[in-house]
Amino acid sequence: MASLTLKAITKRFGQILALHGVDLHVDHGEFCVLVGPSGCGKSTLLNIIAGLIQQDEGSVLIDGQSVDRLAPRERDVAMVFQNYALYPHMTVAQNLGFGLRMRDVPKQIIREQVLETARILGIEDLLDRKPRGLSGGQRQRVAMGRALVRRPRLFLLDEPLSNLDARLRASVRLELRHLHREIQSTIVYVTHDQVEAMTLGDKVVVMRRGKVHQIGWPETIYAHPADTFVATFIGSPEMNLYRGRLLHKDDRTHFQGAGFSLDIGGLQLNLGESELEVGIRPEDIAIGHGGTPALKAKIEMISDIGSEKYIHARLGQESMTIRAPREAAFQPGQVVPLTVDPDRVHIFHEGRRISWPAGSCSSSK
């Protein structure tokens, strides 16, 4: 177990800037998730931590010691690859024991540790099989086992669940969480799936185009996204985001969007009449009276996912998604009044969050 610190990591591939001054600190035993759309540099970052790719600038520290000059084998980290990268010519037992064998651990100890790891993961009966004969879920376990068996200082997981089907993914996600609680290890986990990021991470790092957009607890990132990218990337269905201006009228502030006006309470901002963006999560919109002036939307389509309904509506010239309980009985074409709690409205100026409502902070830690 160890802590990990990244200092201003920069990496170029030819003309492309893959990573741009990434700083990050992961504590002992912390589960850190790097999340972002494909091509955001998260996998490159993981490979740099492992030592498989050399960074152009910046430094990687494990337990405060720079490992920049160490080869992957000397860094004492373990990695789980997206397509598992199991050695096809070796049995499961040989796959699990490979790392120990390369470090000249005595055969007897290798046997014991392989058996113990296989027991933790419930794959004892697979030990003599070759990877070819295993299902996707079993391969994933073996890949996890190969990392676990060595008890490394740091676990690096590169989209380990993305090749599993949806049901299996959910259950393995839970198991991972349990496993982490049990072995208390430091984990850096890369994913493009926001659900994985939110459910697994003690700490979530949102990245795009080689830059870190926000680092924080999952709740913070959801409740106080630092910018419009994080706001729309995290959360499903996506946050509604509207461009417009603020108008002050009778001590109250109104947001004037395209074809609608939204009361956002007593907000005092010295932005004048400059353009900004307002974000509202689908669950923060209630259908029913309350707001003044009344906000009205026309329902266009309803997606019923069973546990709840997503209502796609038109608000002025903008479209809007509203999360409604499954009992909600609406029909497309209906015009309904909306209520939005001003405290739940996110305001962004030039893409960055404006600290609002007062008292909450835009970045954690």
Binding site: N47, A50, G51, L52, A71, P72, R73, V77, A78, M79, F81, N83, A85, L86, Y87, P88, H89, M90, F98, G99, M102, R103, R146, R150, L156
Partner: protein, 312 residues
């Protein structure tokens, strides 16, 4: 009797029969028939002049040819030479091919040119390259001997292709090297490594990078990665290559004939076939040797598929 309408499967089967028919005919005419014909000839006393005679179809079998071939005091030596030449030549060409493939596997400027260059021994005409090598290795006119003597590496020229034994002094230990045979094996390795090179390179490039990355993180050194990842991944192609090269080298005639005429301890079974047929005009004995080649290869194939290929 009621005639059943042909079903879809019947039609498929009929179509399959007609599609296989041409191949089957070719195999019958050019593979199966020659073997049977050769076996027939090896069991009769036939001279080169008799080949046009009607007597070929008479049923007068004899084992005389086999008695002659096996009774030849040279036979054991020739068989041993053939096995050494075939095994060493095959292994050498595969080893050289492996080294060449590993060399051009990485990225570096001029890689594609080097790859093209590596193919050249294989595509050059055999007459041209054997002539060139004979010329290079010649004791009187050869550039290699001249260079070695001129630079003081050798006291006197070595007749690489015409001397049977070469006494070598290795740190006080006297070793007798079969000179001409070694030269011929080296030639074989050089000429056929491109074949192995192409196969190995293709397989090498199909090994996923993640395996090497995983092994690196697991703590494998470059050598360990080679022995634990690369070699096992190549094992199937290496054993297939050995199978092909062994068969082809075992049946090889032109290279060795053009280099040494089978002199100086390089007489292999195929040259014996030639000697009997065109030296002694004894087609029967020649066919008998050819049948022995066939028999040895059959045994090799049996061993290969029963024990070597099974490990995959």
């Amino acid at each position: 009797m009621t005639r059943r309408e042909p079903t879809f499967f019947d039609q498929e089967a009929r179509l399959a029969f007609w599609m296989l028919f041409p191949t089957f005919t070719v195999v019958l005419a050019f593979v199966i028939f020659p073997v049977i014909w050769n076996l027939w000839l090896s069991l009769k006393a036939v001279s080169l002049g008799d080949l046009r005679g009607v007597s070929l179809f008479e049923f007068n079998m004899t084992l005389e040819n086999y008695r002659k071939v096996f009774g030849d005091p040279e036979f054991g030596t020739v068989l041993l030479t053939t096995l050494i030449y075939t095994t060493a030549g095959s292994v050498l060409s595969i080893l050289l091919g492996l080294m060449a493939a590993l060399l051009v596997h990485g990225e570096f400027p001029g890689r594609s040119m080097l790859r093209g260059l590596f193919i050249s021994p294989y595509i050059a005409p055999v007459v041209a390259v054997t002539f060139t090598w004979s010329f290079i290795l010649d004791p009187q006119l050869g550039v290699l001997n001249w260079l070695a003597v001129d630079k003081g590496l050798l006291a006197q020229p070595i007749p690489f292709l015409s001397q049977r034994w070469w006494d070598l002094d290795l740190l006080g230990v006297r070793v007798r090297v079969p000179m001409a045979l070694t030269s011929v094996i080296l030639f074989e390795g050089w000429r056929y490594f491109p074949f192995a090179f192409l196969f190995i390179l293709a397989r090498l490039q199909a090994i996923p990078d993640e395996l090497y990355q995983a092994a690196s993180v697991d703590g494998a050194t470059p050598f360990q990665r080679f022995f634990h990842i690369t070699l096992p991944q190549l094992s199937a192609v290496l054993s297939t290559l050995f199978l092909f090269r062994f068969i082809w080298t075992f049946n090889k005639f032109d290279d060795i004939f053009l280099l040494t005429r089978g002199q100086a301890g390089t007489k292999v079974l195929t040259i014996r076939v030639y000697d009997y047929a065109f030296g002694e005009f004894n087609i029967g004995a020649s066919s008998a040797v050819a049948m022995i080649l066939f028999g040895v290869l059959s045994v090799f194939l049996l061993v290969y598929f029963r024990w070597i290929a099974k490990e995959e």
